[in-house]
């Protein structure tokens, strides 16, 4: 029996690993997006005293490797009596880490946001939160979509780190298969193919969003 046939018989393991990676990725990136939006709203200036600690927090996160944050949640939090299992600490670390990156991307775009629009909105009596939700956020998200797409790919790649804190995902599946059958080359080629396919699909989706955005006139502001 050739190595590829063995792998084909173990396809369930790959598939469940893939689904697990995609679940982690989906949950984490949705949470990260929300965290990014909330951080941007808080930086918006509703509470000026909050801005400096938030900037320090975001910059601090951006200076740390992802894995050390996962370690902090998985091994460090039990010292405070909070015990997260590997899955939750992995998803939590991914969400907070990439939330900070997304907030930083948004902040960069917010700096170049035309102030005339905000004055016009205030003149029309928009409240701060309505203005943020209806005017600022949609335009900033559409403007930063290439960077967001990049960040999505980084987040997907960071899910592989979770194998180190014993989360069962795609890389863990390949690792255990190559351990069981001694066919590391083929197992990892399949897994790398999975990651590649997902990142190509994400790139295509980002491009399609760009088409949608230019049809709706987001590029003309």
């Amino acid at each position: 029996m050739s190595n590829w046939q063995i792998l084909w018989q173990a396809r369930d393991q790959f598939w469940s690993g893939f689904l697990s990676t995609m679940t982690i990725f989906g949950c984490a990136i949705s949470a990260a997006f929300v965290i990014g939006c909330v951080l941007l709203y808080l930086l918006e200036g509703s509470r000026p005293r909050l801005a400096v600690p938030l900037r320090v927090f975001i910059d601090g996160m951006r200076m740390l490797p992802f894995l050390i944050l996962a370690y902090l949640l998985y091994y460090g939090l039990p010292s405070f009596g909070i015990r997260l299992d590997a899955w939750w600490s992995g998803v939590g670390a991914l969400a907070v880490y990439h939330g900070c990156y997304i907030a930083e991307i948004f902040r960069g775009s917010r700096l170049t946001f035309p102030p005339g629009q905000i004055e016009a909105a205030q003149a029309h009596g928009f409240t701060r939160s309505k203005m943020f939700l209806r005017l600022i956020l949609p335009q900033i998200v559409m403007q930063t979509r290439p960077l967001l797409g990049n960040q999505l790919i980084y987040a997907l790649k960071d899910t592989a780190f979770l194998v180190i804190i014993t989360v069962q995902e795609l890389t863990a599946a390949a690792n255990s298969l190559s351990g069981t059958y001694f066919i590391p080359t083929e197992a990892f080629i399949v897994v790398i193919g999975f990651y590649w396919a997902v990142s190509i699909v994400m790139e295509v989706i980002v491009k399609q969003c760009g088409r949608f955005g230019s049809r709706r006139g987001f590029d003309n502001v």
Partner: protein
Amino acid sequence: MNASAWHMLLEGAWTTLWISGVSIAMGVTAGLILALIRLARVPVIDQLLVLYISLARATPLVTLALFIFLSAPTFGLQLDRNVAGILALTLNTTAFNAEIWRSAFRNFSREQREAAMATGMTPWITFRRIMLPQMVITSLPGLINEMSFLIKGSPAIAVIGIVDLTRVTNRISAVTYEPLPPILVACVLYMAIIGGLVWAQRVAERRANRLAV
């Protein structure tokens, strides 16, 4: 944490630093060479390089490190852990660096190249004396950014058993049963390393902007 724990942490930091340093040096050079080869547009090699860059950018470092370390023996190669780690980091960072160098090539001013040609410089001399010094300055911010990404990705090599700054915290807490202090110290050390790079990037950016004006 006692003195031996501090010693282990610093040793881990040194491991991270030297492995990353070697990979950065190799990755920057290899990226430049790949960018040059891609500029030559050799039919088959060009497509292969595009495939390599696309694959290397999508592959997680952990997966790549495991792949290289576990599958090298099936090809009859006995790789040392450190060599496998350096290889994984280098393969990853080369792809990004090649893109940075290539965009520096594409944005290089055409007037200067024409002027060099008019004064009778050979392509090699034009490259070495005119293009390379300016390209180093313009692409330095991007390259340093990629270096800090590499250091942030370097804990991936812990998966093949290299005791780097992240992994060493496990070793220490296995003795002391207090995982939090070594992790926090590792955080501070990482912040110092990457903060230094961010600062260098800011300086490099200021220089690049001065050149552009």
